[in-house]
Symmetry: C2
Subunit: 115 residues, 2 copies
DNA sequence: CAAATATTTAACTTATCGGTTGACTATTTG
DNA sequence: CAAATAGTCAACCGATAAGTTAAATATTTG
């Protein structure tokens, strides 16, 4: 039996696994934005964008700061560190395995997606 | 209107956003494994694990090599590079924004999850 | 060739996701 | 205070996800 410990990592990866949310995050990264500003380029309702922002907020990838009736969304980089760490782990494995696999990958890494 | 270009990135992030799949990937990283071997520690059916492996395979995070009636699963590190790149992008934004935000984050990064 | 083994596929269930619309709350402005 | 503005929340819908069990497909072995 394997335990499910890392809910935070789940949340961050899930939040990032959506192109709308990545685009929102990129915009927020350029400069802090209000919800309406963020929603403007998207072909969806404000409520839908608001939901996406909530997912990002729960993953702590953004922080909302209220100022009167408007909310300013800021990028928070911190949760990405966990992902960077995860990737470095796999990288280590990868390097220790490289020899055994490279003969195989040379032929397959450029192929199409499996069905 | 924003375009949805990066299906590959979607697939990789979605594949990683599940603790079972991360555990499978970690195991495969230690050494190439068969499907049955991989399924053994999990409290779920072989078919369920097989489905998870398919998700990982579609994201190209693993490669399955058939040998008779068994399949050997290998880690493929390549797709992680895209994520590493994505994170570096946000890191850049982050660094350019740090000043404007640090007064706020000092107080909030240790708080509980927003509802 | 029959039985056992390794794995996938199909059909189904329940839960979650991503979107919608409409109502609601809070704040600002005339 | 009434109207406009900024945003959230709730209820709903269709699609996808993650699991199940049972049947199907190869492949190996006695």
């Amino acid at each position: 039996m394997v335990k499910y410990i890392d809910e935070q990592l789940d949340a961050v990866l899930h939040a990032l696994a959506d192109p709308t949310r990545r685009a929102l995050l990129k915009q927020v990264g350029r400069k802090p934005c209000t919800v309406t500003e963020l929603a403007e380029p998207f072909d969806m309702s404000l409520a839908a964008v608001s939901k996406h922002l909530k997912v990002l907020e729960c993953a702590r990838l953004i922080i909302k700061e209220q100022d009167g009736r408007t909310y300013w969304c800021h990028l928070n980089y911190q949760p990405m560190e966990a992902i960077a760490k995860l990737i470095r782990e796999y990288e280590q494995f990868w390097e220790s395995q490289l020899d055994s696999l490279e003969h195989y990958l040379d032929d397959t890494n450029t192929q199409e997606k499996p069905s």
